[in-house]
Each structure stands twice: as structure tokens, then as C-alpha cells.
């Protein structure tokens, strides 16, 4: 017999009932709260976090390799990064100005990639778009607000048309888009060069250059915040990010594009026409690249000059790759590369490091992002920790990073202690060190720091071992050790000057963060590396 409490299968149970729609302010807040909870849901957050984590790791790794290249070629990486970072932060408008075209070209590459296409010829679409916008800008008279609008529109369409040819060839003739977009790109560059040096050349130049006349002032985009560089194009860029995000994630067209990108056969089985989607995606991608060119001309250059872009289309590939083809990721990627570009000039003039270093870093970032399976590879090679990170990344990664911090901090502090010991030995003070400690307070402090540094250096190395084998005591000791690293940095700076403090503070803060994180993990769950080591094969 069925008891009363058991659910009747014909009765709608509680969770099946349609949810009561709340309207008004409460509804909005409820929706926001739900969105927030949804965002925090681990299963949604995990792939996102892994991608962000890998993007940041790639940046750090490429900076590291770039530092090695700088050391090998005789430049000081510390000075380079100092001038780069502070130089860029001094001129935030330039960061966003450099980022503006990268947002569009990044979106162009990312959108095509979502549809399974590689638009490597964004450069050519950008040139065609910029030339079309320039022609509208200096040949047609229109009222102020309408003029840039029409010019942008023509630029967008021209870029789209230029990408339409590879799209049609890919869809109906099977020609690979990597080759055809690239060929179209070279044709565009040669064609615009011919136009700028021939029929559309600015008349009456003293030394003739391949450039068109200036566009009318009615066609120019306004500058923002009184900057000489940053213009309204950046706002169009933010707008484009939102539009592309909505297109990809909230429309049928975007869904169909992504479906074709995931699997063409599956999409066809679901009733989607992959050929149509290939043509449409490349067209929209070309439109975005064309918009990049149009915005740059109307916002800053104000005329087409041969070779003005110097690789903005290629940089779009980097931005899309770093942003994991996500529109919001592209925005951050573009701002990051804008940051590098803005800082490259001060790095060259103040730090004496050639600005080309930025291109090297850019290439390295792409290479590292292209190799996300590196941890899996190490795991396959039988390195236990890599195995654990692959198996349980959430638990293993913070503990691993904490261990790395302990290792680096320990070595750094030991090096400080050894350095001080070396100075004492050189000065020949070791012989009657006990007398000196009693009489000379300066020497006494010196020896005190030295002892603390050596002891805590060794303790940090012990913590490294403890973290690696996930002993419970290790994060507890890592916290005071981190504080000691910072203290040693501070005291040595007061006593002897130098900039040892900054790296030690960074190490200390990171060490503490990972220590607390690992502490929670180790105490909350029964985490053990040894288990994985023995079980995994």
C-alpha cells in the first residue's frame, strides 16, 4: 500500500510546478541574485576559472622567458618591466587608445573561431574598411552626426564583403579559409596602396607620399576625456563587445554558428545549414575587422596612409587567443596588449630596452596559450604532482602554488642570509664575532637578521617539503614564514637600502594567500597527495 506521504505520480510535485514570476523591483533583484548564484555555481565557474588561470599563467610564463632573453641580450629585466608598467600607468588614455582597434580585430577573429573558422586575414579586411571609410570621409559632404555613422557603415560593409569571398569559397568550394583570407589580405594591402599612391593620392604634396587627403571634420569621431588619442571609438568597442556577446550567447544565429563550430555533421543533423553559417560568420567577422579600420581612421589618423596599421589584424589573433574567444575575454586581452603597447615607448626611451621586446612577449603568450595540455603531458610522463593537478585541480593547485612560494621564499631568504654572512667573512669579523655582538649594536643587529634569515630560509624549505607531501602543519608554518620574509625585506631595506623589499612583499603576500587557502583545503577535506601517488597509474 502506498502511504500518504509518498508522492503520487499523477500529482505535480513541488519542483515541477511552474515558478511564480515576480515582477517589479523584487523581480529584478531576484533575477540578479539568481544570476549571481548561477555565476558562483562551481560547475559553471570551473572551466572559466581554468581558462582565466591558464591565460594568466601564459602571461607570467612569457614574461619569464622574455626576462631570460633580456638577460641573454644584456638588458636588465627589472628596469624593463618597471619602466613598462609605470610608463603605461602614467598614460591610461593611451592604454585604451591602443586597445580600441584590438577589441574589434580580436572580436573578429574570436567570432570566426567560435564558428570553427580561422580568419587570419583580418588585416586585409581592416585595410579595406579603413579605405572605404576614408573615401566617404573626404569625398562626400554630410551633416556632422550622420557623416561618421555613414562612414563607419560603409567601412563595416567593405570589410564584410572582403571576407565574404573566402566565406563563399570555403562553403561551396571547400577552399581552406586560412589560405584564402590571407591571400585576400595581401590583395587588399596592394590595392589600397595603389589607390593611396594613385587615383586617391592627396594632391599638392611637397614630397609625395602614398596617402589620401584628410577627411572632413564632420566625419571625425570626438575625442574622450580631453585626451589627444583616446576617442569615441573605444565606446563603440565596448558596445561591440556587448553586441557580439549577445549575438553569440542569446540569439538563434549565434547558437547555430557555435553549433557549426563544434561539429559540422552534428549541426547538419540538427537541421542547421553549415554552408550558410560559414558564409554569415565570416561576413560578420569581416565586418568587425572593417569596423576596426574605419574607427581608427575616423577617430585618430583622419586619413589613409599606406601601411598605417602595421599588423593590427595579426594582433587581433593574439587577443582572441588570449581571451579564449570569449567577447569579454577579448576586451581584457585587448586592454592587456594596449597596456604593453603603451608601456613599450617609455620602456625604450627611459629603460633603453627596444620596443620590439613587446612583439617577442606577444608571440610567446600565443605559444604558451597554444599549449594548455602541458600539465597533462607532465602527468603522462609520470610526475605525481601533475597527475594530482589533472585529477583534482581545485584541491591540488593552491597547495602546489603555496609550496612553490615556500620554495622561492626560502631560497630568497637563504640568499639574503648567505650574502650577509659573506660580507662578515670578507670583513674578517668572524674571528671575534662574540665580542663584537656584545659591544657593537650594529653588528649585533646584522648577526641577528642573518641568523633569522638563515633559520627561516631553512624552515621555508621544510615547509616546501611539507606542502608537497600535504602535511597538516605546513600551511600553519607558512603563514609566519611569509611575515618573516616581508620583515627581512623591510629591515634590510632600512639598513642597507636596495629594492629587495618589493619582491619579498609580493612573495610574502602570495605565500600567505596560498597558505590560508591550503589550510582550509587540508583541514576541510581529507586531502592527500600520497593517495593519488599510489593509486594513479
Amino acid at each position: 500500500m502506498m502511504s500518504e506521504s509518498e508522492p503520487n505520480e499523477y500529482e505535480i510535485s513541488e519542483w515541477q510546478k511552474p515558478e511564480k514570476k515576480r515582477r517589479g523591483i523584487g523581480g529584478i533583484f531576484g533575477g540578479l541574485w539568481k544570476a549571481y548564484v548561477n555565476f558562483l555555481d562551481w560547475s559553471n565557474l570551473k572551466p572559466l576559472l581554468i581558462q582565466i588561470g591558464w591565460a594568466i599563467s601564459s602571461i607570467i610564463l612569457s614574461m619569464f622567458v622574455a626576462s631570460l632573453i633580456m638577460l641573454a641580450t644584456g638588458y636588465d629585466p627589472r628596469i624593463a618591466f618597471e619602466t613598462l608598467i609605470f610608463g603605461a600607468l602614467d598614460q591610461p588614455d593611451q592604454i585604451l587608445w591602443y586597445a580600441t582597434p584590438l577589441i574589434f580585430t580580436g572580436l573578429a577573429v574570436a567570432l570566426a573561431f567560435k564558428a570553427g573558422l580561422f580568419n587570419i586575414g583580418a588585416e586585409g579586411q581592416l585595410y579595406m574598411g579603413s579605405m572605404a571609410a576614408t573615401v566617404v570621409g573626404f569625398m562626400i559632404l554630410l551633416p556632422p552626426v550622420i557623416h561618421p555613422f555613414i562612414a563607419l557603415l560603409v567601412g563595416i560593409l567593405m570589410g564584410g564583403v572582403w571576407a565574404l569571398v573566402p566565406g563563399l569559397l570555403k562553403a561551396y568550394r571547400g577552399a581552406h579559409e586560412v589560405v584564402t583570407t590571407m591571400m585576400m589580405s595581401f590583395i587588399a594591402i596592394l590595392l589600397t596602396q595603389w589607390l593611396a599612391a594613385g587615383p586617391l593620392q592627396e594632391p599638392g604634396q611637397i614630397q609625395p607620399q602614398a596617402q589620401t587627403p584628410r577627411i572632413f571634420i564632420t566625419a571625425q569621431l570626438p575625442k574622450l576625456f580631453g585626451s589627444n588619442f583616446l576617442n569615441f571609438g573605444f565606446i563603440i568597442g565596448i558596445f561591440a563587445v556587448i553586441v557580439v556577446w549577445l549575438l553569440l550567447n542569446r540569439t538563434v544565429l549565434g547558437y547555430e554558428m557555435r553549433a557549426v563550430g563544434k561539429s559540422e555533421t552534428a549541426a547538419r543533423a540538427a537541421g542547421i545549414n553549415p554552408k550558410k553559417m560559414i558564409v554569415i560568420s565570416l561576413f560578420i567577422s569581416g565586418c568587425l575587422a572593417g569596423l576596426a579600420g574605419a574607427v581608427e581612421i575616423l577617430g585618430y589618423h583622419h586619413r589613409f596612409r599606406d601601411g598605417w596599421s602595421a599588423g593590427l589584424g595579426f594582433d587581433g589573433i593574439t587577443v582572441a587567443v588570449l581571451g579564449a574567444n570569449n567577447p569579454i575575454g577579448v576586451l581584457f586581452g585587448a586592454i592587456f596588449f594596449g597596456f604593453l603597447r603603451a608601456g613599450s615607448i617609455p620602456m625604450q626611451t627611459l629603460g633603453g630596452v627596444p620596443a620590439e621586446m613587446i612583439d617577442v612577449i606577444q608571440g610567446l603568450v600565443v605559444l604558451f596559450v597554444a599549449a594548455p595540455k602541458i600539465v597533462q603531458w607532465l602527468a603522462k610522463k609520470g610526475i605525481g604532482w601533475a597527475k594530482w593537478i589533472v585529477k583534482e585541480p581545485v584541491k591540488a593547485t593552491p597547495i602546489f602554488l603555496g609550496a612553490i612560494m615556500a620554495l622561492i621564499g626560502g631560497i630568497a631568504v637563504l640568499a639574503v642570509g648567505a650574502g650577509m654572512l659573506g660580507t662578515l667573512v670578507q670583513a674578517g669579523l668572524i674571528g671575534d664575532i662574540f665580542n663584537l655582538i656584545m659591544t657593537d649594536p650594529f653588528i649585533a643587529t646584522h648577526v641577528g637578521i642573518l641568523t633569522v634569515a638563515l633559520i627561516f630560509g631553512l624552515i621555508s624549505l621544510a615547509v616546501f617539503y611539507g606542502m608537497i607531501v600535504t602535511r597538516r602543519w605546513s600551511p600553519i608554518i607558512l603563514i609566519p614564514s611569509s611575515i618573516i620574509w616581508i620583515a627581512i625585506g623591510y629591515v634590510t631595506m632600512i639598513l642597507y637600502g636596495g629594492t629587495l623589499l618589493i619582491p619579498l612583499v609580493v612573495l610574502g603576500v602570495l605565500g600567505m594567500v596560498f597558505a590560508i587557502w591550503s589550510l582550509i583545503l587540508i583541514y576541510r577535506q581529507d586531502v592527500s597527495y600520497m593517495e593519488v601517488k599510489t593509486s594513479a597509474t
Binding site: 587570419i120 569571398v165 577552399a175 581552406h176 612583439d359 605559444l367
Partner: protein, 308 residues
């Protein structure tokens, strides 16, 4: 029919510049062929050529022996290709993203080193070029041109008449069968990529110390991509690549020849359109004439079943 001497000289010039400019395209195209036949897309050819061109000039500058320059160029090309091989074959990364990364890295690195070694931003100082060989009627030619002509039949033989070539092609067409035969697919794919690095770098050396005697920032100017186009045009076949590469070389070389020829200077105005011929012909060939048939398993990482 009587040809006047001026026309004969012009023909000589055109043949000369066709060979000089076409050789890097054929060499890099052969490199691309080895890589793509083994199943790895290599759009890094452009970057490897640039690196080869730079390494050749740098090594010649320090040793004053252009043949050492050629050797160092090949070594640098193989090293750069090794990065691509590790990412694509071992780490199963995306071939095109990895290639783009190498492209960007090579462009930045060579410009940086140009500044580090010579303190200049545009063009390096001149170095000793390879000893040229004189052919009557055509003029002085780089020795790498003859090496290229010798390499084409060798490549054909290796690809179609040796076990190595069979395995390389199988890695790109049907890797699981190759694996079932007990042969390491990854190994042959790595060989393919490394060979492509060596050939592309040799092409780069022809650009910098064969045809010219200096290195300039971004001096390949898209020739790696034209080489890829020549490879597709030549249907992934050494003989086809030779013909396609020389044809594209002809369209580029005709500009050099006609600019200095009397009576032909009106062509300078439409030089941009002559330069477009390789690009347009690739689009026409791919889109209209026939479908190109690349190796079947291209750009698909090979994962052994037990590893899944």
C-alpha cells in the same frame, strides 16, 4: 625571327629574377609539403624563413663565411620548428595558433636582435653573400638555386620511393593504420615538421645571403604564405611545387626586371597589380578550377586509443 639584343637581355633579366625570387618559395613550399604530408599544418613557415634569413646574416657577419651562415640558418629553422612540433604533436595544441605564435615571435625576435647586434632598426649592414655562379645569357645566380633544383627530385624520391616517405605520408593520411602497423606516428610527424623547418630556413637564407647580402626587418613580407599557396597549387607534390613556386617567382621577379628595362617603365604604375597575380591565382585555383585535396588527417592530433 630576329630578336634584338635589348629584348634578349630583358629575357635574361626576367629568367634571372624569376630563379632568384622563386627559389625561396620552392624551398619553403617543399618544407610545407613535408609538414602537411605528415599531418601538421605549418603556417609558421613565414616566421621560420625570417629566422633563417636573420641567422644566415648574423652567422656570416661573425664568421665571414656564408656557408656557415647557411648551416646556422638551417639549425635555427629546425629549432624553431621543434617548438611547433612539441606544441602540435606532443601537447596536441592547435596547429594554427601555434604557427601564429611562432610567426609573431620570429618577427619580434629578429627585429630585436637586429637592434641588439648592430644597433639598427631597419636594415643590417651588408655581409659576404654566397659565391655566385655565372651562366651566360642569364647572369649571376646564387648557388642555392642549383641546390634547390637538386633537392626537388631528391624530395620526390624520398616521399614516393622510400619507406620513410611512405610512413610520413601515412601519418598524414591514415595515422591509425600506421599505428596499427607498429610505427610511431608522433615520431614521423615530428620528422615532418623538423624537415619543414630546415627547408624553410634554407629558403630564408636564399633571401638574405643568396639574392641579397643583408637582413631587413620583416624581409619575408608574406613569402611564407605564398610558399604555402605554391604548395597547395602544386598539390602537395615536389614537382608541382617547383612549377608553382617558379610561376609565383616569375610574377614577383617580372617587377624587378621591368622596372630597370627601357621602354617598359609604364608597367611600374600597375606594379601592384602584377604583384597581386600569385594571390589572385591561388584564389582562382582553389575556388574555381578545382578543389584541392589536402592530406586526410591534417590538423587532427593523433591520440592513441589507450590514452583516451
Amino acid at each position: 625571327m630576329q630578336l634584338d639584343p635589348a629584348t634578349l637581355i630583358l629575357f635574361g633579366w626576367i629568367i634571372n629574377s624569376t630563379l632568384q625570387v622563386g627559389t625561396p618559395l620552392v624551398l619553403a613550399g617543399l618544407g610545407g609539403m613535408f609538414s602537411e604530408r605528415s599531418g601538421i599544418v605549418n603556417i609558421a613557415l613565414e616566421g621560420i624563413m625570417l629566422m633563417g634569413a636573420f641567422a644566415a646574416v648574423a652567422a656570416t657577419y661573425f664568421t665571414d663565411n656564408p656557408w656557415i651562415g647557411v648551416l646556422v640558418a638551417i639549425i635555427s629553422g629546425v629549432l624553431l620548428a621543434a617548438v611547433h612540433a612539441v606544441i602540435c604533436v606532443k601537447l596536441k595544441g592547435n596547429h594554427i595558433i601555434s604557427g601564429t605564435g611562432i610567426l609573431l615571435f620570429a618577427a619580434g625576435f629578429t627585429t630585436l636582435m637586429l637592434f641588439v647586434i648592430w644597433g639598427v632598426r631597419g636594415v643590417s649592414p651588408g655581409v659576404t653573400p654566397l659565391p655566385e655562379i655565372y651562366l651566360p645569357g642569364i647572369g649571376y645566380l646564387s648557388p642555392l638555386i642549383f641546390i634547390m633544383f637538386a633537392l626537388v627530385p631528391v624530395c620526390w624520391f624520398v616521399l614516393y620511393r622510400t619507406p620513410f616517405g611512405l610512413r610520413l605520408r601515412a601519418a598524414g593520411e591514415d595515422p591509425s593504420t600506421l599505428d596499427a602497423a607498429g610505427i610511431n606516428v608522433e615520431k614521423y610527424r615530428i620528422y615532418g615538421v623538423l624537415l619543414s623547418g630546415a627547408f624553410a630556413a634554407l629558403g630564408g637564407a636564399q633571401l638574405s645571403i643568396g639574392f641579397g647580402s643583408w637582413f631587413g626587418k620583416g624581409m619575408t613580407s608574406g613569402q611564407g604564405f605564398i610558399a604555402l599557396a605554391a604548395m597547395i597549387f602544386g598539390n602537395w607534390n615536389p614537382i608541382g611545387i617547383l612549377i608553382a613556386g617558379l610561376f609565383f617567382g616569375f610574377t614577383r621577379g617580372i617587377n624587378f626586371a621591368l622596372q630597370i628595362a627601357p621602354g617598359w617603365d609604364w608597367l611600374v604604375g600597375v606594379g601592384n597589380f602584377i604583384q597581386m597575380i600569385p594571390y589572385v591565382s591561388v584564389i582562382v585555383a582553389l575556388g574555381i578550377i578545382r578543389r584541392s585535396i589536402p592530406p586526410k588527417a591534417i590538423a587532427i592530433p593523433y591520440i592513441k586509443e589507450k590514452e583516451i
